[in-house]
């Protein structure tokens, strides 16, 4: 729909100042609306997003420190600390796509009263790319060979290769600019020791930190130095963490103690009920690129293979490499029901691993949106995958279709597992369910057999997404050389061990292509290629669900950036 505006429209966005976007915004004195209460049921452990990449840390920090550009609720770029968005057209991006030059807005002050300069951006780059620093957001500086301060307000980022999509460094809430003066002594290994700075970064944002209690509560107060007149509307913000999603929602929707609750991943019926019975809150949803999907192991995970299991050396999976099996499994799933039960308004059915931004979303696979168990049965029957020994389980060339289906421990995932298991049972495929604690599953410990990378199972389910709006790096995940294995300490993002030369070629092609439309075309092609291999079965396009009190105005739910990205514009309505 907004194919054109997606990136090209960046220029247009410059004209659209945030203040104008909220033309109806309540004007007035800074701090006039008193107190704002936000509840995140997972509490932030630090306010330095470079030290912990968790959503809760990044979003809480987004009230204080800011990037050059943010994405708005449509995934469009909005200049934030930058005056405008550099493009090839306006000369901000060099023709050879290797440099991008940013200009800071004029008169931006840190909350301590010192001016924001290009040096701060340069320092931020040094800070996050320091080899001993363990910066959680280092990927935003991938390919950046240098960041220079041309003058006080001009920042030049140079890439070591042409970068068709150069809006990574200093873009989005995960890559904000920190103050050099504050963090100068915190480079590298010393980064974690600067507790005061990490817990109370000085920022340019609408609020400054009054008190930070790790894993508990943060108190913010309005930043007197904030560049926009009359903002923020609230004098103080309490950012409470802890508890559970239901309780958080209850506090906003039923008792009215809080104004904003984040990530309400609870039973949709309960959610609907609370909204209705309390009548105090509004649910807000935003979709990004998160897709809950099944990965079908393309290698043989049999425990008999010992060390070699689930590696390329183990050879192909006995039956999951046949797209027919995958297709039948996919057809048997009622995605809409999964949405209804686990996600409600926070999810939609999808048949793509790359569901958004809309420009990149393929429509070639939409058949999967409707469950068709009979069709799936027929498909298997046609291909001779039948139950030959009468035990209710089909055999594939003599191998019974029994799968070990694992995921992380999470109530919704277990419900999904149970449902899918039942459908597959109907189909004649037996599934053994297994769930692993998230910290282990996603922990990446090379010695643990239960990480999602090791994939000692036939099928695993989790959500993945990509930050920002450009899918290049995301789609590159499924290159052959990204297959995890002992050689790479099980690092690698091609979890289902999909390998296709044509696909790798498309990845390379995309890295060379600058035209956004062409890029979108390639991305869709890659998406379809994976979909048709049925090595990934996408289930649900997941969105963020939050709720805000009806008395809170100005909320624009956003999944491309921090969801409280525009907290500066929030205000108390008359209600």
């Amino acid at each position: 729909m907004k194919l054109k505006t997606l990136l090209m429209g960046a220029a247009a966005a410059t004209a659209l100042s945030p203040a104008m976007a909220l033309a109806e915004a309540h004007e007035g004195e800074r701090g006039r609306d008193g107190q704002l209460n936000i509840i995140y049921w997972q509490a932030p452990s630090t306010l330095n997003p470079f030290l912990s990449g968790g959503t809760k840390e990044v979003e809480s920090a987004s009230l204080v420190i800011e990037p050059l550009v943010r994405f708005d609720e449509n995934g469009e770029m909005v200049p934030w600390l930058a005056e405008s968005i550099p493009t090839v057209e306006n000369g901000g991006v060099s023709e050879d796509l290797t440099t991008i030059t940013w200009t800071l807005k004029e008169g931006v002050m840190w909350s301590d009263g010192t001016p924001l300069t290009a040096e701060d951006a340069v320092f931020t780059w040094e800070y996050c790319t320091h080899p001993e620093g363990g910066c959680a957001q280092a990927s935003y500086f991938d390919g950046v060979s240098s960041v220079e301060a041309m003058d006080d307000r001009t920042i030049k980022v140079t890439f070591n290769a042409p970068k068709p999509f150069p809006y990574t460094a200093f873009v989005g809430s995960e890559s904000p600019i920190i103050q050099k003066a504050q963090f100068a002594d915190c480079l590298g290994a010393r980064a974690p020791e600067c507790t005061d700075a990490n817990f109370g970064p000085i920022g340019t944002g609408p609020y400054k930190v009054a008190e930070f209690r790790p894993n508990d509560v943060i108190t913010f107060e309005a930043n007197e130095m904030f560049r926009e007149e009359g903002k923020p509307a609230f004098a103080t913000v309490t950012f409470k963490g802890g508890g559970d999603a239901t309780a958080a929602m209850r506090a906003v929707c039923e008792t009215g103690e809080f104004d904003y609750a984040w990530n309400l991943q609870i039973d949709p019926t309960v959610r609907a009920d609370m909204i209705e019975s309390g009548g105090m809150c509004t649910e807000v949803v935003a979709f990004g690129t998160s897709v809950e999907r099944l990965h079908l192991n393309q290698t043989n995970p049999s425990a008999d293979l010992g060390e070699a299991r689930s590696t390329v050396e183990a050879g192909p999976h006995p039956f999951l490499t046949d797209p027919i099996v995958g297709q039948a499994m996919s057809m048997a799933i009622d995605r809409q029901l999964l949405v209804d039960i686990g996600y409600g308004s926070g999810g939609t059915v999808t048949c793509n691993v790359l569901p958004a931004p809309p420009a990149y979303a393929s429509t070639a696979n939409d058949d999967c949106k409707v469950q068709d168990i009979e069709g799936a049965k027929a498909l298997l029957d046609e291909n001779g995958i039948v139950d030959s020994d009468g035990d209710g389980i089909r055999e594939y060339e003599g191998t019974p279709l029994k799968v070990l289906y694992q995921t992380s421990t999470n109530a919704v995932r277990q419900d999904t597992q149970a449902l899918i298991k039942q459908w597959w049972t109907e189909l004649g495929i037996e599934a053994e369910l297994r769930n692993i604690d998230a910290s282990v599953f996603f922990g990446g410990d090379p010695s643990s057999p239960d990480t999602f990378q090791k994939f000692y199972a036939d099928i695993e389910m989790y959500t993945n997404n990509f930050a920002g709006v450009d899918p290049e790096a995301y789609m590159a995940n499924w290159r052959c050389d990204e297959i995890p294995g002992p050689g790479t300490q099980w690092q690698g993002s091609n979890i289902q061990r999909f390998c296709m030369e044509e696909y790798d070629a498309l990845v390379d092609q995309m890295a060379q292509t600058a035209g956004l439309e062409a890029r979108a075309e390639i991305a869709k092609q890659m998406n379809d290629m994976i979909m048709q291999s049925y090595s990934i079965i996408p289930l649900i396009h997941r969105g963020g669900v939050s709720a805000h009190a009806n008395s809170l105005g100005g909320v624009r739910m956003n999944d491309w950036d921090s969801e409280i990205w525009n907290a500066k514009d929030w205000y108390r309505t008359g209600e």
Binding site: I39, A43, S45, T46, L51, S52, G53, G54, P131, E132, G133, G134, C135, A136, Q137, A138, S139, D142, A189, A191, P192, E193, T195, N198, F199, E211, R213, P214, N215, D216, V217, T219, T238, K240, G241, G242, G243, D244, A247, R250, A251, E254, T255, E257, F258, D437, A438, S439, V440, G443, G444, D445, S448, N464, F466, A467, T488, Q489, Q491, G492
Partner: protein, 335 residues
């Protein structure tokens, strides 16, 4: 008595060392990874570096020794520095939480007020309710009051707090709107109104927790009273013509309190660790909640330090209980 105390103190040193080693080794086996919370988009090399930055590269004995030095030497020095403004511990590496990268002791101190307010108060309330119930139940054994008391205390013991907690929230916060459902840890009591607010937000967690304390202590008090009510000295006191009040509230109570006081003392460490669930339910982000988040985040230094602090508290209160016993009971001679 002094000898005895010294001896117990001496014994507790190896006990604590063994406990700390046990906890350390146990955590060493942890399959989890502190990087679990880091998003999938972070490349593995970076994760590896982050891991090393946490000190995970060094061998186990070295880390254990480091932790011991940090806990037993540097942290106390820091405490002194904080109080007297000295700088003994300046520049020394303190025990750092992996998750927040801040000194673990700071976190603990930050969580202490909530825990003490809510959980400590619930203990006091619980004990204060339990003692009269226990005394009266024993005095009127098998009466209606006794039976009812038994029933209520059994209920208190039987209903898990995560059930009763949510129930009271739904009733008192959602339906009636009397009390807040989320505890505000930043609330400061400065005047009467803020005190009332503090009371309001404490009522529910305190009552839910106190119910359990009451259940246990009142049963104990009752049993202890019953034991003593049958003693010969009670008959003597009656034979002396003492009023029932003096007999029960002075002669019997004083004797019955001896075991009860020690049980109460032994229950104190539980305040810090045992309220994990209640803290979770009411969002009283205290020590218990700190521990559970640390466990979930694989924050081993924090988990280790917290469990060890619990162990120290338990050992300390065991000692206190023993000493109290000696003080309360003139018959006890420790030597």
């Amino acid at each position: 008595m002094l000898n005895y105390t010294l001896r117990r103190l001496l014994i507790s040193v190896p006990t604590l060392l063994i406990i700390s080693l046990a906890i350390f080794l146990l955590l060493e086996l942890a399959p989890g990874d502190p990087m679990a919370q880091v998003p999938l988009t972070v490349p593995p090399e970076v994760k590896q570096k982050m891991r090393e930055a946490l000190g995970l590269g060094e061998p186990v004995p070295v880390r254990y020794w480091k932790w011991l030095v940090q806990f037993f030497w540097i942290e106390p020095l820091n405490m002194i520095d904080n109080i007297f403004g000295t700088a003994f511990a300046a520049g020394e590496q303190r025990v750092l939480s992996w998750q927040t990268r801040s000194p673990v002791m700071d976190l603990v101190l930050q969580r202490m007020p909530q825990t003490l307010w809510v959980v400590g108060m619930s203990y006091i309330v619980g004990v204060a309710i339990a003692l009269p119930i226990g005394i009266y139940s024993a005095y009127k054994q098998y009466s209606v009051f006794d039976q009812a008391g038994t029933f209520v205390s059994m209920i208190g013991y039987s209903v898990p707090p995560f059930f009763s907690g949510v129930l009271v929230i739904v009733i008192f916060s959602v339906q009636l709107g009397w009390f807040p459902s989320i505890y505000d840890t930043t609330h400061r009591v400065v005047d009467w109104d803020t005190f009332v607010v503090q009371l309001q937000q404490m009522v529910m967690p305190v009552m839910v927790l106190a119910l359990q304390t009451t259940a246990q202590i009142s049963r104990f008090m009752r049993a202890s009273m019953l034991d003593n009510l049958n003693q010969d000295y009670v008959r003597t006191a009656r034979a002396k013509g003492m009023t029932e009040q003096v007999v029960v509230m002075k002669h019997v109570l004083r004797n019955s309190m001896i075991p009860v006081v020690t049980v109460i003392a032994l229950g104190v460490p539980g305040i810090f660790g045992g309220a994990i669930i209640t803290e979770q339910v009411f969002k009283v982000n205290g020590i218990g909640q700190l521990l559970i988040t640390a466990i979930q985040a694989n924050d081993l230094p924090l988990v280790q330090t917290l469990t060890f602090i619990f162990a120290v508290l338990i050992v300390a209160f065991n000692l206190i209980a023993d000493i109290l016993y000696g003080i309360l009971d003139p018959r006890i001679r420790y030597d």
